[in-house]
C-alpha cells in the first residue's frame, strides 16, 4: 500500500543523502520526495511517498526514526491530512485548441504562466486525483512536457474534520 510519510529532520549537511541512502540501501521505493526548510531554519520537513507491505512500511518508519538527525516521523496515511502537489504542464495550444485549454485551466483553477504562439505552460495545484484528471483531459490536446514537485502533506489540526476543498 501507498504511504505518505512526513519527516522532520535537523537541517544538517548530508541529511537528504542519509534518507535517500536508507531507501536505496535497503531496497525501499521512493515515489516522491520533497524537502524544504520549516519556520525554524535549523529544521527541515520532508514529505515522502513510498509503497510496500505493512511490514516494510513499519521498518521504513523505524529506520527513519533511527537516523540520528531525525526529529519526528509521522505516517500521514493513518491520520487525517491534506496533500497537494504542483505540476507545470506544457501543452500544445494552437488554433481552436487554445480556447479548449483555457477552458480546462479555468475549470480546474489552474494558471497560465507562460505563453508562446503554439504552447501554454499551465501551473496547477491539487491532490493526485485532480492532477490525474487534468492530465487525462489535456493529453489528447498534446501534452509536451510535465514537471511535478512531488507531494507535500500536512496533518490536519482537527483530526475528525474531513472537508477537503480541492
Amino acid at each position: 500500500m501507498r504511504h505518505t510519510i512526513s519527516l522532520t529532520v535537523e537541517n544538517k549537511f548530508g541529511v537528504l543523502a542519509r534518507v535517500a541512502g536508507l531507501f536505496s540501501g535497503r531496497g525501499y521505493n521512493i515515489e516522491s520526495l520533497s524537502v524544504a526548510e520549516t519556520l525554524d531554519p535549523a529544521v527541515s520537513k520532508m514529505t515522502i511517498v513510498t509503497n510496500g507491505e505493512d511490514k516494510i512500511i513499519e521498518q521504513i518508519i523505524k529506520q527513519l526514526n533511527k537516523l540520528i538527525n531525525t526529529i519526528k516521523v509521522v505516517d500521514l496515511t493513518v491520520t487525517g491530512h491534506v496533500e497537494r502537489e504542483m505540476v507545470l504542464i506544457k501543452v500544445s495550444a494552437s488554433g481552436e485548441n487554445r480556447t479548449e485549454v483555457l477552458r480546462l485551466v479555468d475549470i480546474f483553477r489552474g494558471k497560465i504562466v507562460d505563453v508562446s504562439p503554439d504552447t501554454f505552460v499551465i501551473e496547477l495545484t491539487g491532490d493526485e486525483e485532480k492532477i490525474g484528471a487534468v492530465l487525462n483531459l489535456l493529453k489528447p490536446l498534446g501534452v509536451k512536457d510535465i514537471v511535478r514537485t512531488g507531494k507535500v502533506a500536512m496533518q490536519r489540526s482537527i483530526q475528525h474534520n474531513t472537508v477537503d476543498n480541492k
Binding site: E10, F13, K55, Q63, K66, I68, N69, T70
Partner: protein
Amino acid sequence: MKMNGAKIFVESLKKEGVDTIFGYPGGVVLYIYDELYHSDIKHILVRHEQGAAHMADGYARVTGKVGVALVTSGPGATNTVTGLATAYMDSIPIVVFTGQVPTNLVGNDAFQEADIVGITRSCTKHNFLIKNVKDIAKTIKEAFYIARTGRPGPVVVDIPKDVTMDSTEFSYPDDIELPGYKPTYEGHTNQIKRSIDMILASKKPVIYSGGGIISSGASKELFAFAELLKAPVTNTLMGLGGFPGEHPLFLGMLGMHGTYAANMAVTHTDMLVAIGARFDDRVTGDISEFAPEAKIVHIDIDPTSISKNVEVDIPIVGNAKSILAEMNKLLKQDKRLKGFVRESEDWKTLINQWKESHPLTYKETGKLKPQFVIERIYELTKGNAIITTEVGQNQMWTAQFYKFSKPRTFVTSGGLGTMGYGFPAAIGAKVAMPEATVIDIAGDGSIQMNIQELATAVQYKVNVVVAILNNNYLGMVRQWQSLFYGKRYSHTDMSHKPDFVKLADAYGAKGYAVEKKNDVLPVLKEALKSKLPVLIDFRVEEEEDVYPMVPSGASLKKMLLA
C-alpha cells in the same frame, strides 16, 4: 585559551578519557600528529589502517569503552571501511577520525581526497564532516556519545587539514544537543508484566540471547533470570560468554553450526525469550520453520530489530540489563513460578536427552584435529583467556569447543564475517588489557589478511598468541564445495603460503610448528609464557568439516551431523 584545531582535538580526546589511539599518519593529519608528539595519549602505530580499525574494535569489545582510530585522508580513510562495517554489524562502539583535504579543496578531486562521509554512510551509526574549528570539541563529544549509547556502533569524524590548523577558544561542552537522538532504555512496564504472564503460562521455554547481553552488561541478570525460571539458554555467536558455557542449563550456540540440542530446543519450544539478538539468517535458517510453535518475547534496544525477520508476540524496547532486572524482581514475587518450574521438568528431560544423544564431537584419526587444539587451549586457560578468532571453520570450532564463561572474553566478527579481523582485534584487546592472556584462533587463509600487524605486536611488545589451525585450505569454503558443489575445490587450496615459523622469526616474533597431538600442550604452555608475540602453526587435518551444519536456508531441524 586559544588553541589550534589539532590541540583541541587532543584535549577533547582527553576529556573523553581516551588513553590509546590506533593510528597511521599522512599529510592531512600532520598537525594532529604534531600534537600527539607531546601528548601522553598512547599511540599505536599500525601497519595498515584496517588493522587500526580492528584494533580499536578489539579494544572496545574487551573493555566496553569506545575504541579510537586515527588515519589520513583518501587511502588511509578507505582502508578503514572494512573495520567500520565489521564494527557496525556487531554494534561495537568505535570512533574513527579521518583526515580530509583542506576545506577549500573538498570536492575538487584533490590529491588523496575521498568522500569518506559518503562512502561510510551506510556502515556507520553516524558520521560527521567538521567544517569549522569551532565545531571540533562539540562534534567529538557527540561522536563518542553516539558511539557508546543506545545500540552502540562506529562513528566517523572527518577533519579537513585547515580545520586542525585554525585556532579558536577551547571549551569542552557539558551537554549534548541531539534533538533527534533519544535511545529508549526503560522497558515498557506493561509489556514486561505481560511477558511474565506469557512465560509462566508456557511449558517449554528457551532463552535465546545475543550480543545485547554483552553490550549492556546484563550477564548477571541473564544468569539470575535463567536460574529463576530454570530455563535453558542458547546463545548466538555474538552472545557467547554472556552465559556460563559449562552451566547445566546451557545449550551451546544455535543456528547454522549450532548444537543439536540448541537447534532442536528452538524448533520445539513453546516460549522463546529473545534478548539482545536479532534473528539473523545464520541463526534462524528457514525463517518459516524457526520456532514454529513458539510464542515470542523480544527484548532489544533497537526498535528496527523487532519484527524485522520474525513476528513477535511481545516486543520490549530497551536496555536488556534493566529490563531483565525488572523481570527478575517480578518473577521472585510471583506465586506461579514454582508450578512453572515443575511443569517444565519434562521439557528439560527431553533437552538433556538431545544433549546426550548428540554432543559436540569429532572423530579421532591419526592426525591432529583442530577441535583437539581448541580443547587444549580451553583446558590450559580454563576459560580465563580472551579469545579472538578469524573467520571460517576456525571461528565455528572455537564457538563450539571453547566454553566461554565470561562476557567480553570472546571477540569475533559475527555479522560481517571479516577474515583478517582476529589478529588485529587480539592486539587491540591486549593493549587494553596487558595482563590478560589473549589468543587469536586463526585460519591459514585469514591470518594472511592482516599478518603485517605482527610488526606492530613486536614493536609494542603486545604478546598475543596466534594459534593457526593450518588446514591448507580456505576450509569453510572448501566445506561448502565438498557438500554442495560436488567436491570441486575451486580456488580454495591454500597450500602456497609462507613458512609461518620463519615468518614469525623474520618479524622478530616467535614461531612454532606442531604436528603431533602430544606437542600441543607443551608448545601452548611455552607460548603463553613467551616474552614475544607467538605464531603457532598447527598442522591440522586438512579436510575436517564443521558439524552439525544446517545448509544455508534450510530449517534448523535439518542438521547434517558428523
